[in-house]
């Protein structure tokens, strides 16, 4: 199955800028469907980025993050060609992991 995670990591020498886009409904649990029934909460709770075995960024999310979430950050200490490992876990225990090469 194709990964739900799309990542673009670009190094400018000193810093690496990371942009991630994830496919996920991010249902808050407060929205009703067309029949007027509440759509149960279903959202990513934790998203982590690791470089060389070290966590460089962790996102703790609630249901208030937009559908198909996007996040951007930057970190130091990586170089072009290095790998970045990205993984998430949602409130139902589902997970996904991928790696991206820093460009």
């Amino acid at each position: 199955m194709a990964s739900t995670i799309r990542v673009r990591a670009t190094s400018s020498g000193e810093t690496t800028e990371v942009q991630a886009l994830i496919q996920h409904p991010m249902d808050s649990g407060f929205v009703k469907d067309s029949k007027g029934e509440l759509i149960p909460a279903h959202f990513i709770q934790q998203l982590t980025f690791e470089h060389d075995g070290k966590k460089v960024f962790t996102a703790d999310w609630g249901g208030g993050v937009s559908k198909d979430p996007y996040v951007k950050f930057a970190f130091k200490g990586a170089k072009k060609g290095d790998e970045l490992k990205i993984s998430w876990v949602d409130n139902k225990g589902a997970t996904d992991t991928t790696t991206a090469k820093i460009q």
């Binding site: 810093t15 991010m26 808050s28 407060f30 929205v31 009703k32 709770q45 934790q46 982590t48 070290k54 966590k55 460089v56 960024f57 962790t58 996102a59 703790d60 999310w61 609630g62 249901g63 208030g64 993050v65 937009s66 559908k67 979430p69 996007y70 996040v71 951007k72 950050f73 930057a74 970190f75 130091k76 200490g77």
Partner: protein, 161 residues
């Protein structure tokens, strides 16, 4: 003395519990790693708090002071409350975390990011807003909390459908 005794006893019991779990193969990593990972635990309680003040208290255990060193980039008006782009950057040093809250959302805390050493204190993301509200950003730097506020007007709510 009695307190010391019960604290020690608790530690022993906890340790025994962890060891049993490792023995059973339920805890797949070593204890030191597990203890280090405790810092990365998902802040369940903070994400249940309805109000912004309660969420900040649950997350950090203290109150932030407003700071002009926290710069929030948010739209004046969000036509679609389901997708509101917000970014934050700060000139504060020793930043360890950045959190986003929306006062009028059913659950105030939206996102909380951990910023380890080496990661820049700057985050962009997209959040949902139920209605026109204050957006609050809290930055933890050098063990203290700083915040910035901005009202974002929402024309179509993002939590109502």
């Amino acid at each position: 003395m009695e307190n010391d005794f019960s604290a020690t006893r608790r530690l022993i019991l906890q340790g025994a519990g962890v060891l049993t779990l490792i023995g059973l193969g339920i805890v797949p990593f070593d204890v030191t790693k597990a203890l280090a990972a405790a810092n990365d635990k998902y802040p369940e309680e903070a994400f249940k708090a309805k109000s912004e003040a309660d969420a900040i208290k649950a997350l950090y255990g203290k109150t932030p002071e407003p700071s002009d060193k926290v710069k929030m980039d948010a739209p004046e008006i969000a036509e679609n409350g389901a997708v509101v782009p917000i970014s934050v950057t700060t000139t504060l040093s020793d930043v360890t975390s950045i959190s986003f809250l929306v006062s009028e959302n059913p659950v105030a805390l939206v996102a909380s990011y951990k910023i380890p050493a080496g990661t820049l204190p700057s985050v962009s993301n997209r959040i949902k807003m139920a209605r026109t509200s204050n957006v609050v950003v809290v930055v933890e730097a050098g063990g203290k909390l700083y915040s910035a506020n901005k009202e974002v007007k929402v024309t179509v709510g993002g939590c109502g459908g």
